[in-house]
């Protein structure tokens, strides 16, 4: 697991405390945070300027429920994998708007670390063999791509 190359991660989250702590957790797990956006406009800028492997995207941002738009923009522009971090997972459409999965808030430290491990394996050495993180829902398209039920 640890011999896989670390991920470049973009955080799209309007709550500063959550974003700060998330950044620490990501760094502790050995990955690099390439940007933190609080609005959809900022997020688009970061998407254009960085080449993140993974983007954690909240659905409610400072300019409204624009997280789904951000996911659509990322899907159109970059190969970056999107994971929604949201307290309102019912807002996520059935096709997950092209995202890889949803991590439901409130997530636990272990859940998030597990999510990072799972996605890292999915990106660096698919299919992921780590157990499915607690609180994580995998998109059907990725499940079939990775041969996971």
């Amino acid at each position: 697991m640890s011999n896989l190359a670390p991920l470049k991660v973009l955080i799209v989250e309007d709550e500063a405390l959550l974003a700060m702590e998330l950044e620490s957790l990501i760094a502790e797990a050995g990955h690099e945070v390439v940007g933190w956006a609080t609005s959809s406009a900022q997020a688009r800028k970061f998407v254009d300027q960085t080449d993140a492997d993974l983007a954690f995207v909240d659905i409610h941002l400072s300019d409204g429920p624009t997280g789904l738009d951000v996911a659509a923009y990322i899907k159109a522009e970059k190969p970056t994998i999107v994971v929604f971090l949201t307290a309102n997972s019912k807002r996520v459409p059935d096709d997950f708007a092209g995202a890889c999965g949803v991590m439901s808030k409130p997530y636990t430290v272990n859940g998030l670390v597990g999510c990072l491990r799972f996605v890292q394996e999915g990106i660096r050495k698919p299919p992921p063999i780590a157990s499915r993180p607690v609180g994580f829902a995998l998109a059907p398209s990725y499940a079939s791509q990775w041969g996971l039920g």
Binding site: E15, L17, L18, M20, E21, L22, S24, L25, A87, N88, K90, S104, K105, P106, Y107, T108, V109, N110, G111, G114, S131, V134, G135
Partner: protein
């Protein structure tokens, strides 16, 4: 006889000549027809436009016309602006097909006053089967009809009112559900915020004792987080699935311990508890499982933490067991975790029994099924 209505009433009774019946005022059938209180007419379909050739006094009283005004005319003069065209069409069709018809039709008197006419029209043929006449009888059913219409209007009004009320209730329910989800959303965000605060603080602390306390605090908050993540996920917002919660919680705790040599074993029946009991139950299970992971497998001793959830006769039963070294009594009675378990058990009216020896520890929590919950009431019915 000429076809036009005549003005002369002196010839009135001669019009009955067209009946080709035994003639004269003494004919009992003709006399009966003239005298009956039921309005009656006879028309002649062999003549152009099927005119009335006989109308009795009752018919004249009903419609307000003179005999001379009606005889020789087609009876459509009774129709008016609100007469149902479908009813007229049905009448025309019956005449064309030479069939009986029984129909309520809105007609108009000479003075313009409408009345509901229960019309019966029937063809009369001779012995050879040739159509000779149509016989019509008319009954004023305005009273019956208006009460029918009134009942119909009342029924429609009632249905509208029910529909409106139903919509109001649905709107209110939707508003309530939206509000619940909004509050739920905030609770979840705030729990995430509390976890983040504890974590951030603990990153800046060197003292291992304080760090451990903060870690225990975080675990408790995360147990509540796990409850809230699972709450309101189904349509039934009043109940909480203990099994799903236990699986998430214990998987998280074992993984977070970093101990590959500790396994989790589950025996989870389908047990739902009222939503308001979810948090205290979750905190108790969290304390018991955390205790097992921390104290049962010291000095690299591997093992299994087992959790059983069941609902035997009128009780919920939660069991946390391990095959570790057994727990010293001082850990059981002195710690904050134990105090927490005792207090929450009291709140839930639950009994907690501890068994510990060299082969491990088993804690069983039994809690009465709340009698007042709607689901329990439904089950008892």
């Amino acid at each position: 006889m000429n076809d036009k209505p005549t003005k002369s009433s002196a010839h009135d009774w001669h019009m009955t000549d067209d009946l080709h019946a035994p003639q004269g005022k003494a004919d009992p059938f003709a006399a009966a027809m003239r005298a009956t209180r039921m309005a009656m007419i006879i028309t002649d379909p062999k003549k152009p436009d099927n005119p009335i050739i006989f109308a009795n006094d009752a018919f004249l009283r009903l419609t307000g016309y003179e005999r001379s005004e009606v005889v020789g005319s087609n009876c459509r003069f009774l129709q008016g602006k609100d007469t149902d065209p479908d009813a007229v069409a049905a009448l025309r069709k019956a005449v064309e097909k030479r069939k009986n018809i029984n129909i309520d039709i809105l007609n108009y008197r000479k003075d313009g006053k409408p009345f509901w006419n229960a019309l019966y029209l029937s063809p009369v043929s001779d012995e050879q089967g040739n159509l000779q006449y149509f016989f019509g009888s008319q009954l004023d059913v305005t009273n019956r009809k208006s009460s029918e219409l009134h009942a119909e209007a009342e029924r429609e009004r009632f249905e509208r009112a029910v529909k409106e009320r139903t919509r109001e209730l649905e709107d209110a329910l939707e508003a309530r559900t939206m509000l619940l989800h909004e509050v739920d959303h905030r609770v979840k965000n705030n729990l995430q915020m509390i976890s983040s605060l504890i974590l951030m603080q603990s990153r800046n602390i060197q003292d291992e004792g304080v760090k451990n306390s903060l870690r225990s605090m975080l675990e408790r908050v995360e147990a509540l987080s796990t409850v809230h993540r699972r709450l309101y996920q189904t349509d039934d917002v009043t109940h909480f699935d203990v099994g799903d919660f236990v699986r998430d919680l214990v998987r998280d705790l074992v993984a977070a311990s970093g101990r590959d040599d500790i396994e989790a074993a589950f025996q989870l029946g389908e047990v739902e508890i009222p939503a308001q009991q979810a948090a205290p139950v979750a905190l108790i299970v969290n304390e018991l499982v955390t205790n097992a992971i921390k104290h049962a497998f010291v000095d690299g001793r591997p093992g299994t933490v087992g959790v059983k959830v069941a609902k035997p006769d009128g009780h919920y039963r939660f069991e946390v067991n391990d095959n570790g070294a057994g727990m010293p009594p001082d850990i059981r009675s002195g710690s904050f975790g134990t105090t927490l378990v005792r207090a929450l058990a009291r709140q839930l009216e639950a009994k907690v029994s501890w068994e510990s020896n060299g082969d491990g520890t088993k804690v069983v929590v039994t809690m009465p099924v709340e009698k007042g919950s709607p689901k329990e009431k439904a089950e008892r019915l």
